[in-house]
Symmetry: C2
Subunit: 594 residues, 2 copies
């Protein structure tokens, strides 16, 4: 019942007009990504998303995955065929290292494609998404032999992949993990333990699955310093590369969840499974964490993507459903009632939604561009700045985009009234699917703690200071520009609040770390508003360059930017006031009083 049309025009506006990626055509990857190539790729991706992936989104949710008695898992009807199309399209290797079969295109382009896949069918997108994450980890930490052995098949989409961190008694606090690894003397290990919440843990889309598993080598130190990362293939791999016997890892059960039913969330039982060390002994967490930024950006992207598809369906309903009359008098007097989009409060939900999604897209792609620059820039200062930004922005994008993505999906559901609550209409699935993104890949509270505890103070606050300086420069550059005034003033105001909050942290978090923890989520919210205000100011600038265009796209972009300033940005003051109230009232109650 739902539909999805990739917002190609907005994507291209961000890539070409706001970020002007053609400026980077001297860099590896970007040199292949001319405007024509980008357009062609996005159009192909859009077709797959709308015609192949979205049509099986609701049916996949309804059917879910099925675990059979032998531990094998079947994905919902149509998933295997859709995966085949995805695989044949070469999508898995889009931005991967050409040495292993990838196409080496910029990461920012992979992010744009990933947005379309997640919007069209989030549960589907997780299968290749997890495989790509595992491939990235092997690429970053594997030996040459390991890379040759695993990556070509993973990048061709022939093999899947997973990340195995969580155990029943430990999620956030991985130092508690118990899965053990016993060295066999031949370089291999026997892995034994139970992992839970393993997304895409078992399925029928690929002939092989490469599990990456955190475990503790016998005799290793307790806590996080004794954790190693292992490659555990579902099937042993023969010397000629063919698949051999089944390894000792089995899906014990599939979790019954609130949403993403079409993705198999597995309990994986490891029973003397043969595994191979990836990276160094006892440095498994570090190896895992180097992959975290990209994985977390990917989850933030899911939040924005679900927000987009929910918006599209909410807006379509609002234009179609006739109910009541405009407050200013009938707009379609010949009909029995006006479409509900005439009602200001319906518009409030849709404009909030639009201002979020478009702003988030610009911010996300801007961050992805830094992800590229971090890797391929020839200038060390640029690489450092990119690295700083990625560190600073990642927890903010992950947390804010998923929190708000869920919230906006809920509002889009609200636009449909009672129909929003009925499964057939598909809106409630968006809400249920979006909900997981606030939890996995580090719950949102952990992101906030990462921001204030690690990313903010790192290198004496260099990242945030660089960011402030960049905004100051932007503001200064546009002083006196009447057209830019509302956007620049809004940006300057929220940045000033963020500076004040940052100073409050410096003054108060050292003396009592609870002050940092207590205000971490509001600081993250204020940071997000600053980033969005910057993204909107950059977007407004690009739109103003076309202000005389006959294409209403640019006028509408400016109106949405203005809405953001008027109706979203005021939340900054609530964040700042909460931050400055400190931790006293929050920490006062004894635990037993809860």
């Amino acid at each position: 019942m739902t539909t999805y049309t990739a917002p190609l025009k907005d994507m291209q506006f961000v890539l070409n007009e706001v970020l002007q990626i053609s400026k980077y055509s001297n860099l590896p990857g970007f040199s292949e990504a001319s405007e024509d190539v980008v357009e062609a790729i996005l159009e192909e991706g859009a077709k797959m998303a709308s015609n192949v992936l979205h049509p099986i989104n609701q049916s996949g949710d309804k059917e879910g995955c099925t675990r059979h008695e032998d531990g094998s898992v079947t994905t919902p009807k149509g998933f295997k065929e859709a995966y085949e199309i995805y695989k044949q399209g070469g999508w898995q290797g889009l931005s991967f290292d050409p040495d292993y079969g990838g196409q080496g295109l910029p990461y920012i382009l992979a992010v744009a494609v990933s947005e379309m896949v997640s919007a069209a069918n989030m549960a589907f997108g997780m299968y290749p998404g997890l495989a790509r994450g595992a491939a990235d980890a092997i690429h970053a930490h594997g030996t040459d032999e390991q890379k040759q052995k695993y990556l070509p098949n993973m990048i061709a989409g022939e093999w899947g992949g997973t990340m195995n961190l969580t155990e029943p008694h430990c999620g956030t606090d991985l130092g508690l993990l118990k899965t053990k690894a016993v060295p066999q003397g031949d370089g291999a290990y026997k892995i034994t333990g139970s992992k839970i919440f393993i997304s895409a843990g078992e399925h029928d889309l690929t002939e092989q699955i490469i599990h990456l598993v955190l475990a503790r080598i016998e005799g290793a130190p307790e806590g996080v310093k004794g954790i190693s990362l292992f490659i555990v293939p579902k099937y042993h791999i023969n010397d000629d590369g063919s698949l051999g016997e089944r390894n000792g890892v089995m899906c014990g059960s599939i979790e019954e969840k609130m949403g993403i039913h079409a993705n198999s969330t597995c309990v994986l039982n490891y029973d003397d499974a043969t595994g191979y060390l990836l990276g160094e002994e006892n440095k498994g967490l570090r190896a895992m964490f180097t992959m975290m930024n990209e994985a977390r950006l990917g989850v933030g992207l899911q939040g924005m993507a679900i927000s987009e598809v929910a918006y599209q369906n909410g807006a379509a309903y609002a234009k179609d459903r006739l109910q009541g009359r405009a407050l200013t008098g009938p707009e379609e007097p010949e009909k029995p009632a006006d479409p509900i989009i005439v009602h200001p409060d319906v518009r409030r939900m849709l404009m909030d939604h639009k201002a979020f999604t478009e702003g988030a897209r610009a911010w996300m792609y801007w961050s992805a561009l830094y992800g590229d620059l971090q890797n391929v820039s020839e200038d060390e200062a640029t690489r450092q700045k990119a690295d700083d930004y990625m560190g600073l922005m990642t927890p903010v994008l992950k947390s804010y985009l998923t929190d708000r993505g869920y919230w906006h999906a809920t509002n889009a559901q609200q636009v449909l009234g009672g129909h929003g609550y009925i499964q057939e209409w598909g809106m409630e699935q968006f809400v249920r699917d979006a909900r997981i993104a606030m939890i996995y890949e580090g719950a949102n509270g952990i992101q906030a703690l990462d921001l204030v505890g690690r990313k903010l103070p790192k290198d004496g606050g260099r990242a945030v200071m660089t960011f402030f300086a960049e905004i100051d420069e932007f503001v200064k550059d546009h002083e006196g520009d009447e057209d830019m005034k509302p956007y620049v003033e809004g940006l300057a105001a929220v940045k000033a609040d963020m500076v004040e909050a940052t100073q409050w942290f410096m003054a108060n978090a050292m003396q009592n770390p609870n002050n940092a923890g207590a205000s971490s989520m509001d600081y993250l919210g204020l940071t997000a508003l600053t980033c969005l205000a910057y993204a909107w100011a950059m977007s407004a600038k690009a739109a103003l360059e076309k202000k005389d265009s006959s294409d209403d796209f640019y006028k509408n972009k400016l109106m949405t930017a203005k809405y953001f300033v008027d109706r979203v940005l005021p939340e900054r003051s609530a964040h700042l006031a909460k931050i400055k109230s400190g931790s006293e009232a929050m920490m006062a109650l004894p635990a037993e009083a809860f």
Copy 2:
């Protein structure tokens, strides 16, 4: 897996110490409601809620209702037995007119019991809740004969009841409804049409169901002025009161919904069903709307109730789950990790939740007390004030408590991390169940429009002016009271914002009604914050009277009140700034740009 324990101590604190209901013992109903009687009733209700209703909450969600080929519907396992206990307990008639078998106790007490029922099992509570609503409508608008015919059995819990408003093409805009009623010359009508989203529309809990149905009498005017209300019993009733043949109303299907699976949401098809006019011809909407206040308060109560049970389960997990260490150093060094309640951001979610739920309870019960005074006060000025307050508060309670109830349930789910997403843990059910309350009984946006479009300007703004004067008096009475200072200052500040917003409406809504619509939801939010601030100030005052008590309950109450002022009340400034930005940016985009 979830548990529910009625918060009896907090309920009694609100009833006896904050509202001091014993002051009203001269009034009908209250004279029977001594502190002992109230305590005994609440304790019995608490037992039923915890031991009978909550244990079938998760199983009811999982099993759902089943429609059989003959159109009959079976409720989930255990519901019939639980209903029998509810019925035998006499709960249905607690606050109903004794002339028809009710116990005539105050409405406020029925609200307290209803909170427990909804918290324990919202889907269950809807069956008797809808029947009570139908009984109220018959009581208010029926002839003596109708009242004698229907009410005793409905109040004894022997017969169920429903409200039939929505049709496929009309929900909010009832003027569009098509169900028709043809007079038969003998006082009866033949009703034909299709109604959707009928909660408790068909089930096996009672032998009979009394449907109240909005329909248009042949030849009646178009729009809302041609709608009448009819009583349509599921079974014809013989002259001796026994049940006769089946009437022409059948359940065509059960909706597959996001939640409240244990309540049958039906499509009801009326095919020449015999119906009897309730109230006057063509004045059906008015008759229905006189029942709206109570029904809407009931839905607001569901939001608060789900918030309470979600809070309890989130807090229990936070005290039990060991993960990480306190930022200020290990609190339970002998254990492998500290319970997660040591983490400030976990506390933030729980304190937000606690500050909301307890404040909302005081506010809701305070409003319910006015519901009583409206009916039974001997003083006309008091009755008028009560009527004004109920009119003003009802849309605010309905909308804010359900929005926030859902949001807090989502946060309680977040406390459980990955487990929160798994059905077995029960937290995601609270979220799915809570979601409907934002939609039914008038979507929350409609509540906001009712507030600014009808309730605020009514009688020259008398209701809100009375409310402002009451707050001013409270503030004045506590000037110079050092202990009360933070609560009184917070209250005065948010009230000042609300005054400013109200003046903004007076100045701007007349010239452009879109200004009222655009800011309606933020005005509702600001009103809610003012009410909560008042509820917390009253609660703080009551707690301070026991500040030397050895019972920590009062100290904890004051800390939670302080948290509300520090960490919730700052949202007021965002609401005010948004309100004052007007409707321009919201209404600017042409519909096709969405």
